[in-house]
Amino acid sequence: MARWLEYESRETYLHRKIHPLAKMAIMLSILIVSGFWWDPRYLLALALPLVVLIYVSKIPLTWFRVVLLAMVTAAYPVTLAALGQTDPGIYKVLDPQWATTPILVYDFPIAGRLGITPGGMLWMAAVEIRTMLMASYMFVFIYTTSMAQVTDTLLALKVPNPIVFVIAIVYRLIPDLSRVVENILSAQRLRGWKLAHWNPIKMIRRAVPLMNPLMRRVAIMVEQITLATQVRGFGAGRPTPTQEIRLKAIDYVIIAVGVLLLTFAMVGMFAWKLGQI
């Protein structure tokens, strides 16, 4: 079983039939578009292909617990930010008066008007959906694309070696890090440690037993990986991509869909305020 954020070699259509370049193109398009759109309905439309991809790629559903956690964690700052969406000028499509109808609003001395408005709630929903979309699409990409495929593609695209190297290190490090964090949390819990405390200063102090070993382990891991790559010839010259980039018809179709989606979203946004609130 793959660890969280780790590629797993499987016989699915996404793993075997779609070229990494096509996957990169469509996912980048979707991520960029989701960054521009603010209407939750449009964003939810982007979630439909995601459901299909999750099903086809057979990605472990347990991975998405983290997405839920991210959405819940983000909810607090996002809600705070949403409280500030009370300026009628920021709404381009919605009726500004309706969007800023105060449900629970208060005028603060320095911060100005803050509170719950219909526009603010839509804004908050958009940010949450976007968080879910970005994380989930990234998960699908990582689960179905091996590091060698990513580096080969980047090398074929003439991306400079050091950048490819950094991406490769990150790709390799993140799944290991999740295991390390889990071990550290367990080891400290076995000594009576818990992070939660009503006093925020004490809570920050209590993070030290997690952060110190984590930073030390990250430093050791980076050092070890750097060593492991150098002794295996990294830096001896320009690496050879182990696989030839050979796009099939389906890859061209996917890339074209990605480009069209991006173009449509950009033009639509500027010309007809598509996806805006």
Binding site: M1, A2, R3, E6, Y7, E8, S9, P60, T62, S146, M147, A148, A168, R172, P175, D176, V180, N183, I184, S186, A187, Q188, R189, L190, R191, G192, W193, K194, V208, P209, L210, N212, P213, R216, R217, I220, Q224, I225, T226, L227, A228, T229, Q230, V231, R232, G233, F234, G235, A236, G237, R238, P239, T240, P241, T242, E244
Partner: protein
């Protein structure tokens, strides 16, 4: 011409007070297998890193003298250049595995050399064959056993087509069959003409002895002696803390008793031959180790049941069953060795016992000191049973040793006097008194392991599970560690030791639990478990060398259940000196 030429080569790390290598002078001829032995800190890893050019190019320091590999002076060539000639295999397999499929990982090195694609895949195929990894091409290395992972690491090194293969304690983390697998690859590679330098600090000296044709012993950065494979039997191996193969120790006892032993064997075959020669056609009078020759373990009695596990099951995903219905009991005062290859479920089982994981089986039940663990709070569990992780770096966070040990009492909000007394006791028990103010960052491996156990000790758990307490320690360190744990046992603690080291289990444990594929394959007295080599093989395990020697000599009446060098030596002397 020698492949490696070292002339008065010395190296001091940038922050080191003393040189790690001092005036090393040696030649290594092509095609030889050199065993580089020495205790932890003797300079073995430093020398291997120097051969690869890691020193001084990645880890800087001060160099004197010359070190030349295949005509290339190390000081002028960095590891990426040297990687065309030299490959290194490190102690921990996962560190050097870079990709998420076997074939991609093997291809990583040749691709970095910029070789044509056809050449890369030809090398991948060659390495897969040599390392016996056919059928594993698309496997995720993380889902492979330790032996298979290390084979992959070796395959990655072989794909570079090195003239010199440097292996840094390559089998220390492996189960017995994993060790044999890696040693087998090393032998094949050397037969194909490559030169191999393999380091060893003692725990696996028997595995090394079977394969090397030259031994270089390092002590405090210097070459202490240099000779043929028989040098592993040299008494100085004990003095430098490495120890000798068990068969050498047995024959040394016989030699001291003057029963006609001339030379000391280092391998199992040579020892068997030597004993047959000594005994002639005589059969010995023992089908099991006679009680008078056994150590005291058989006589030890144990208390009440402190842990009771019934039908423990854990399923990670519908198709991955980590534990498949484990049932066992642990009695107070027992020392239990849990053995089995990587992925057999040892750590998952331990995590359940301390409440870090919850069973997924509906009928699973874990009772510790009368309480159902799944219903207890963590703060209550950890004072009854606790678990020391294998990697101390996952735990240590404080600046000084004292702060680290004082952490658990502080978290449990114990009164200051009580906490101070517990910290003092923990420091003394684990030989850390006098080191209280030492910085944890710069601790050597043995002190780190002591510290990780000492920092749990103030919680006074009656049952302590310790994961690989002797990994990374030399023979001397291993003995000291296990003696400390025996003192805990004598003080009334129950110990569960998860280990790959079959000698440790033979020497110190009352009972062994053998795990295989999430199930308990065998559970019983160590003597009883080790006397069934065929069943052990099902879990990729083998008994220690001394037990195997007895089993190989079964036709002469030797017992199947010899556990220690002492027992075998006494048994032999009894038969060789019947009058005494």
């Amino acid at each position: 011409m020698a492949l490696v030429e070292a002339r008065d080569y010395s190296f001091r790390y940038l922050r080191g007070k003393e040189p790690a290598l001092k005036n090393i002078t040696l030649d290594i001829e092509p095609g030889t297998v050199v065993g580089l032995v020495g205790k932890a800190g003797a300079g073995k890893t430093t020398f291997l890193k120097a051969l690869m050019g890691i020193l001084p190019h990645i880890e800087p320091g001060y160099t004197e003298g010359d070190l030349v590999v295949a005509g290339m002076a190390i000081r002028d060539h960095d590891p990426s250049e040297m990687s065309r000639l030299v490959s290194i295999v490190l102690e921990t397999p996962e560190v050097q595995i870079f990709s998420l499929t076997v074939k991609d990982d093997i291809a990583f090195g040749p691709a970095n050399l910029g070789l044509p694609r056809e050449e890369i895949w030809a090398r991948v195929n060659y390495a897969i064959e040599e390392a016996d990894l056919r059928g594993f091409e698309d496997r995720n290395p993380n889902n492979m056993s330790g032996g298979e992972q290390q084979s992959l690491a070796v395959a990655g090194a072989l794909a570079m087509r090195p003239q010199l293969l440097a292996m840094d304690e390559p089998v220390s983390m492996l189960d017995p069959l994993g060790k044999e697998r890696v040693m087998g690859i090393m032998e094949r590679v050397s037969k194909s003409g490559a030169t191999t330098v393999v380091s060893e600090s003692g725990a696996d000296i028997e595995a090394i002895a079977e394969k090397v044709d030259r031994v270089v012993a390092l002590h405090e950065g210097r070459i202490l002696f240099d000779g043929g494979p028989d040098a592993l039997a040299d008494p100085r191996m004990e003095e430098i803390g490495v120890g000798r193969p068990q068969v050498s120790e047995i024959f040394d006892r016989l030699r001291q008793a003057d029963v006609g032993v001339q030379s000391l064997p280092t391998t199992l075959d040579a020892a068997e031959e030597g004993i047959r020669r000594l005994l002639g056609d005589r059969k010995i009078q023992a089908l099991s180790v006679p009680p008078e020759y056994r150590d005291g373990r058989g006589q030890r009695t144990f208390g009440d049941i402190v842990v009771e596990v019934t039908d423990l099951r854990h399923v990670y995903t519908p198709n991955i069953q980590a534990l498949r219905g484990l049932s066992f009991q642990i009695r107070s005062g027992e020392v239990i060795g849990v053995i089995g290859q990587n992925g057999s479920g040892k750590s998952t089982m331990a995590r359940h016992l301390v409440g870090l994981l919850k069973p997924t089986g509906k009928t699973s039940k874990i009772t510790v000191l009368g309480s159902d663990v799944t219903r207890l709070k963590m703060r209550d569990i950890i004072r009854k049973i606790n678990y020391v992780f294998q990697n101390a770096d996952d735990q240590i966070f404080a600046n000084t040793i004292r702060e680290e040990v004082a952490f658990a009492p502080e978290m449990m909000e114990l009164p200051k006097d009580e906490a101070d007394a517990l910290v003092k006791e923990a420091l003394e028990t684990f030989h850390l008194d006098g080191h209280e103010q030492d910085y944890t960052l710069s601790l050597p491996e043995d002190l780190k392991t002591y510290l990780s156990i000492a920092s749990i000790y103030p919680l006074k758990p009656q049952i302590l599970i310790i994961d690989e307490p002797t990994t990374g320690l030399d023979s001397h360190g291993e003995r000291t560690m296990m003696d400390s744990l025996c003192r805990l046992r004598d003080a009334g603690h129950t110990l569960v030791i998860i280990t790959h080291n079959m000698k440790t289990v033979a020497q110190y444990c009352d009972r062994a639990i053998v795990m295989n594929k999430g199930q308990i394959l065998m559970d019983g007295a160590v003597r009883e478990i080790y006397s069934q080599p065929q069943r052990l093989l099902e879990a990729d395990l083998r008994p220690p060398q001394v037990t195997r020697l007895g089993q190989d000599l079964r036709d002469l009446g030797f017992p199947d259940d010899v556990l220690t060098v002492d027992e075998m030596a006494r048994l032999l002397l009894h038969n060789l000196q019947p009058g005494r």
